[in-house]
Every structure is written in structure tokens, then in C-alpha cells.
Subunit: 347 residues, 2 copies
Amino acid sequence: MLQTVANSADRPSRAAIAGLTGLTRATVSALVDDLIAGGLLTELEPAPRTGAGRPAAGLALSPDGPAGLGLEINVDYQAACVVDLAGVVRHRFVARGDQRLLTPTAALAALDALATEARAAAEAEGTVLAGAALAVPGLVAPGGLVRVAPNLGWQEVRVPPLAGLPVTVDNEANLAALGELRADGGEPSFVYVSGEIGIGAGIVLDGALYRGGRGWSGEIGHVTVYPDGRPCRCGANGCLEQYAGQEAVAADPELAAAALGIALSAVVNLLDLGVIVLGGGYAPEFARLHEGIEIELRRRVLTAGLAPVTLRPAALGADAAMRGAADAVLRGVQQDPAAWLARAQAV
Amino acid sequence: MLQTVANSADRPSRAAIAGLTGLTRATVSALVDDLIAGGLLTELEPAPRTGAGRPAAGLALSPDGPAGLGLEINVDYQAACVVDLAGVVRHRFVARGDQRLLTPTAALAALDALATEARAAAEAEGTVLAGAALAVPGLVAPGGLVRVAPNLGWQEVRVPPLAGLPVTVDNEANLAALGELRADGGEPSFVYVSGEIGIGAGIVLDGALYRGGRGWSGEIGHVTVYPDGRPCRCGANGCLEQYAGQEAVAADPELAAAALGIALSAVVNLLDLGVIVLGGGYAPEFARLHEGIEIELRRRVLTAGLAPVTLRPAALGADAAMRGAADAVLRGVQQDPAAWLARAQAV
């Protein structure tokens, strides 16, 4: 029901929801009443037209409902955001600083402080947090164990509760791709490339994130572009990360764009995707990068002459991963509102 | 029903099929009787144990049912096979010869002659063909138009009926991957790499072929391995095909294996697949190639230390593509036996 409202382009009426879900109007009204009472839905009554930008009548996710705490830890920053059930970013905190200088324990202690600050800001407004999710630039095992995050220097790190909340951990490019899928909504299949110090990709096929056999898909940063090239932290030579990571983009944007174009051509040749989204640190650099990438795509994608490949910056810009993390929390509430209502009543 | 029998490890009884499908025993028996009468199923009665390799009692696809005509055209050969409904190759024809010397019309005329020979061999045994499918090393559009097959020099080629049968056209690596999926059965996700003059891949995710947005996935032959390397027929430089196509394997197997390892590392880094199958011309070369490929995989796959990647030769060897083509025909019969029975009665 909440998902039906969330996926509607405008504010649906109770009757419209009955039509969309196949439930009877009586059932829909009973459910809607419960969800309004629980603070998850809000309903605007039709009002006389005044012409002055009044919101449309109907049901919407309540901005006063539970919010999601989205967290991100990356090589040169930590970030936290509070996103309400209606999808609005209510608070946003970014703390710059090289995480490679910290032990995992120290980095997570700093993140706990940032998360606590975000939680306090939310609660000062009367906003309750439904949970937290954390985006990390690394390989995450089921259960939230970070197996390895090469650019952070992390190995086998278990993330504790932060700001007193249990934390779901996922790969940052995966979360960013999910955030982008929700924000954009139009494209069912694309590759999202997140450029920080490291580079990751989230692969969305037919409207769903493709995670791979063990959840470790999208490691585009370690696709070889120059087989005998620069040594990488992973032990190989010539990985994309060494030519198109954030520091390399600053040093030589042309080489970075060419390297990205070579690796992305491999993605398109293998997966036949028509859309590439540049996110993370690439989003603000889009104007400097896109032409160099497109030159390589035209040259190296076998089907370039038959079907165009669209390259665009991420709709959510550099915030996509933490927004995706907050979205993951909110999706949990939307998918199982009864569990949230039971929890809220028990407190 | 036929699929239930096809997917059973042993010969299921009528009662077992009722259990597997949720149909009543009476319904199953009525259907089974029709399918036996139509020549699609065969039933062995339980017999006193004699100990001497007697087949198990139960239902099986009938070897006397309709057969599939699998066809393949590749750079240096044409091939045809007749596979019966029970999965046995009844006839197999291979005609060596450089197809690049022929116009598409001449190549298809030669293939028509080969297909006619195969059809005659089948009919001489009383075997009826349910249809034909053709594997081509190129990009195929819906409806069977070959948009481009760079190594054949084909562009916008429409395949006519062959041996008097309408022909379904598909990419050779895709068909080979489907053939491998059926032959192996154990692995739901893998990449199948077909090495001929050109190189293609079939990507199987969770038991289904991943075709991509326009059906053009798996173009691993045009993944860049050396960005400033040898010019390729596609117009780019340094494509895998130039280092690991059949001629390159013969000339320098070590370089070929290294190039394959670099490109396959990209596949695994992007898709997190645990199994790589080497097929087509690579299957007989497996012993010469696998070590060089594995060295690169160990070095370049980010997760190589966390989870092994298995490399193995195709179960169907170099015949996988034409076998996959024949399988595609037989799958059509299995999925809609009623259509086949109606057609057979009308003739």
C-alpha cells in the first residue's frame, strides 16, 4: 500500500489505490486509516481552487513519519543524511578527512559521532529514525561484514550499531545505483559508476540491482585498462582506479576520461546497456569528462553505430550513495509498515 | 509436462509427475496417453529385475519424436546436426571452408545444401524435423535479421528458409551457452566463451541467458585488452579478438591465454561469476590455455583471494553452438507440445 503511494506520480485517492491494488474500497480505507493514525500516510482533502500552488488532494507518504539515516564512509570523507518518508533530505552532514589515516575502529567512532549528531538534529524536530544504513567502498558479505575495502585499508571489519541504531551495510555503488533508480525512475537498465578515490559500479538490470553470485558485482575500478600499467593497491597492474580515481582525474582529466571510456566500453560490449550514469565525484566533473569518454565509446563499443549509448551525470550528484542508504531504510518501512507500527507502539 | 519429464534426472512415473505438477493423476494419465500417441513420450513398463542394465521403468521423451535441426555458420566452417527429442545427436555434418570468400547469398546456398543433406538423413530413418535454428557469429535483431557479423563480412542479412524449414537465428555464443546450461545443469550462473576466428560470450545468470537491452550482450571479442594494440575489423584497436581468436591462439598461445585472462578478469570483476566455460575452438585447446588464463584471473580479479573462479572446458566441446541451436528447436516443442501435435495432424 505504501509502495503503491510511493510509486504514484501524483497523490492517489483511496479509490485509485483500490483500483491499483485490487483491494476493495472498504479494505483500502481501513488500511489507510491505520497508516494515517500511525503517521505513515497523510491525506489532503480536495479544497476550493485558489490557483496559488496548493498541493493536489489525495494520499502521500507523510513527511512526519519515520525517517531513514543514510551514512557513508569513503576514503576522504564521512557523511550522514536524514531523509524523511516523503523523500526530502532533512539534514545533511559531511566531514572531510582522510580515513586512511585512521584505524577502522577510530573511523567508526568518528562516524558514530556524526550519526549521533544527525540523530539529535532529527529528534530535535520530533522526527523518529526507522534505522540506519551505511555505504562503504568495498566488498560486503551477507550480515554486514566488510570483507575488504582496499582503499580504506579495511579487512574483515564488522560495523557496530551507530547512534544507537542497528546498521545495514552495503557497497556504496550499489546503494547509489538504487538511489538513482528511485530518483530517476525512467530507466530500467543502466550502469552507475561512482568515482571517488576508488571506483565502483552498480549494475541495474530490468529495474533490479544485479549483485552477482556473492554480492560482489560492479568492481569496475579493478577492470584492467593498461595491462602493464601502474600498480594498484589490489596487487594487479593497470586497474581503472589508477587512471580515473579522483586524484587521477584532478591530475590528468583527459587520460582519466579515456581510461573510463575504455572500461565502460567493456561494460557495454558485455552487457548491452544503453545508459551510463556518472555519479559520486564524477557527477560534478561531468562537463570535463564526458567528451573523452564518448570518444572511446564510439570507437570501442561494437554496436555504437547501431544504437546510441547515453552518458549522463547522476541525478542525485555526489550524494547518491548516502541518499541510497537512507532510501534502503525507508524501503524497509514501505515494504513492511506493519512491523514499523508494531515497533513504534512497543516503544 | 514434457518439460517436467525432460528436467527429471530419472524416468518419472505418472504418479511422480502428478506430484511434481500438482495435476491429478487422472489428468496426468490423459495427457500422457495423448503425448505417447503423438510420439512425444515413451513409457517403459516395470520389468522383473534381470540385473543386466535394463533401463528404469517410467516416462521419457521419445527418441522417435520430432527432432531439431541445429545449424551453424562460422568463419571457417558450416555445420548441421539432427538431435532427437531424447537429446541424442543422430546426424552431424561439418563442411570446412572459409566463409569470408563467399557472399552471404552463396554462403546461405551452401548451408541450404548441408541442411538438406541433414534433413534427408533424418527422414531416411523416419525422423521428422520440428524446425531449424541457426547460430551465427554476429548481432541478431528480433525477427532473425543479422545486423552485422563482422568476421563473416555480413551486414543486414535476412536468413531464408533452409532445407524447406523456417529458421530461427540467434547469436552463436548465446545458443552455445544455452546448450551448455542444458548439458551441464548444475551451474545457474556462468559465462561461456566461444573462441573461433571471432570470440563471443553467452552470459547465464540464475539459470537464464542474459541477452541485454537489445539482445547484443556478450561481445567479449571487442573488449579492449591493449588500448593502443592491433587494429580490429570493428574499427577499434586492441580488441580481445586480435589476440585470442583462433589464428592468434595457433600463433602465440601464451599471449592468447594472457589476453583472455585479462578480458575474463573484467567479466568476473563486473559480474561476480564463479564459473567460466571455454567453448567453441577453445574447448580442444583447453590444456594449452587454462594455466595462462588462471594466472591473470588470480592477479586481476579483486575477489580472487576470497572466492575461487572455476575455469573448465565446455561439456559439449566445439559442437556447443549447433547443439544449442537444435536444443532451441526442441525446447519449442517441449514448451508447446499441443502446437506440435496439431501441426503433425494437419500434415
